[in-house]
């Protein structure tokens, strides 16, 4: 009888042992699956930002090209973009390590969630090409344009195919539909600001409703929804530093930038590149001068007078020097010194004029 009882205990013990061992093995494999899942998500985030980096490189150099990138695999994730102290950071919110880029000026909303990413680039010229600006948007990032200025038509024509840009006459025409975020761009002085948030957007999250108001020919203000009111984000108007004309990339950038800080930060990258580029052009100018100085006949001609600061009033040498001095003042305490950067425009215009004079002659070397 005693033997039977012992056997019963042994059989029960074996089952308990098997159960425990089975549970441990099961937990082990569950652990591996969970770990692999989190590793895969991190890898996906890293792969995505790496691919984005390559796309931005391609988009950045292929001037004036629009790229529509299918990111439907990331429809559940939020992409973020930021720029501070001259470094742009972008990636997937809360996943993986973000990419840091201190070279390319990228103008993008602070957050994006969509299935199609829209990328576009335009060269920034002051007066020669400095760098390509990359603009990032998405189909569900709706941009409403208000006002009466030829720039609106230029913007709409230039961004054809984006499918997220609409001209409206009044904020009451806004229909949120299924869009993710909204930006109102106003060229008529921003009277709608005092009326508060348009009723169609009153239930949308604060961080998804922004506004850009052109308050003068070359300056803008950035606004953000705060409850049912607009909150101005910049203390001083944000100046547009460009030579104007068609396809003015600095002006386009104000619309694509997430806010005033990211705009100024990305402009800073362009100015830094300009500093290095000016040194190359300075060396080219020295070689141009040497070319004319070897021949007294050439030295006495118009070409040399347009080049040398000993020649005509508007000449390449003094304009280039002036541009460099103004750029130094602009970068001395950037971004606090951003407003000093506007002074570069005059010098750049003179350089453009001197270069155009050289080109017009037909037999002169030109700087760019």
């Amino acid at each position: 009888m005693a033997v039977k009882k012992k056997a019963q205990i042994a059989v029960t013990f074996n089952w308990v042992y098997i159960l425990i061992a089975g549970a441990v093995i099961l937990l082990f494999f569950i652990g591996i699956v969970v770990k692999q899942k989190s590793i895969s998500e991190e890898n996906l985030a890293t792969d995505v930002v790496r691919v984005m980096e390559s796309i931005f490189t391609g988009a950045g150099v292929s001037e004036k090209t629009k790229n529509f990138v299918d990111i439907s695999g990331l429809a559940d994730y939020t992409l973020f973009f930021g720029c501070s102290e001259g470094v742009t950071e972008y990636g997937i919110s809360g996943k993986g390590k973000p990419v840091q880029n201190n070279i390319d000026p990228i103008f993008a909303p602070l957050e994006l969630k969509d299935t199609v990413l829209v990328l576009w680039s335009l060269p920034y010229k002051l007066p020669f090409k400095v760098i390509d600006f990359t603009f990032v948007s998405s189909r569900k990032s709706k941009i409403y344009l208000m006002g009466n200025t030829p720039f609106i038509n230029e913007f709409i024509n230039a961004t054809s195919g984006f499918d997220n840009i609409e001209k409206i006459n009044d904020v009451s025409e806004i229909d949120p539909a299924r869009n993710y975020q909204f930006k109102i761009v106003d060229f008529s002085g921003g009277q709608f600001i005092s009326q508060g948030i348009p009723s169609a957007l009153s239930d949308v999250d604060d961080n998804k409703v922004t506004a850009v108001v052109f308050t003068g020919q070359d300056q803008v203000d950035y606004y953000q929804k705060e409850g049912q009111m607009w909150k101005k984000k910049n203390k001083l108007p944000v100046r547009i530093i460009s030579l104007g004309g068609e396809r003015d990339s600095a002006r386009f950038a104000t619309i694509f930038a997430g806010d005033d800080k990211t705009y100024v930060c990305s402009m800073g990258k362009a100015f830094l590149r300009l500093r290095y580029l000016l040194e190359v052009y300075q060396s080219k100018l020295t070689e141009m001068k040497e070319f004319y100085e070897t021949d007294p006949q050439l030295m006495a001609g118009d070409c040399y007078n347009y080049i040398s600061d000993q020649g005509y009033e508007v000449n390449v040498e003094s304009s280039l020097r002036s541009l460099k001095n103004r750029l130094d003042a602009c970068l001395v305490n950037f971004p606090i010194s951003y407003d000093y950067c506007t002074e570069m425009v005059g010098a750049a215009e003179k350089l453009r004029e001197a270069n155009a004079n050289l080109a017009e002659r037909g037999d002169c070397l030109t700087l760019y």
Binding site: V61, K129, R273, V280, S283, E287, F291, C303, L365, Y368
Partner: protein, 162 residues
Amino acid sequence: MTETIAVLFIFFILILFGIMFYYKYQGVAFKEKQEELLGARAMDTTLKVLFLPEISCTKGEAEPEDNCFDMMKLRHANETFKKYITKYYFNLFSYSRIYVQEVYPEQTQYILYDKEIPFLEDGTKGWEKKEPTFFTVTLKDESKSAIIPHYGFGYVVVEVYL
């Protein structure tokens, strides 16, 4: 009892095989990934070089000339790249060697950028592999005649280090 031990032994042997296979696979996958990244970096760097405003040919407000380097800028660009390598250009080109080999009319080589991965503590070189990419370019030289610019040709070599 002996049977249980035998089963457990075989079970752990199988687990061990699984782990060994996994690590071997991970090692191969890591190497493949590195090579893929190196190739992508080589392409990205080449693309950046071809469109560099520091060396590209321009003509006033018109579109820049594709795949063309301005010799009057090219001859001096390396001084700027060298001067600001840590501050700026390393972030653009990373560890790489970029040079332009002139083929016609002369055979001059212009080294634009050269930053090798530093040597290791034991004195061995810091890189295992380099991936060269070649691209044909025209070389515009206006210093020979202001009226009709002289066009030569050559190729740009971008070598990225791993």
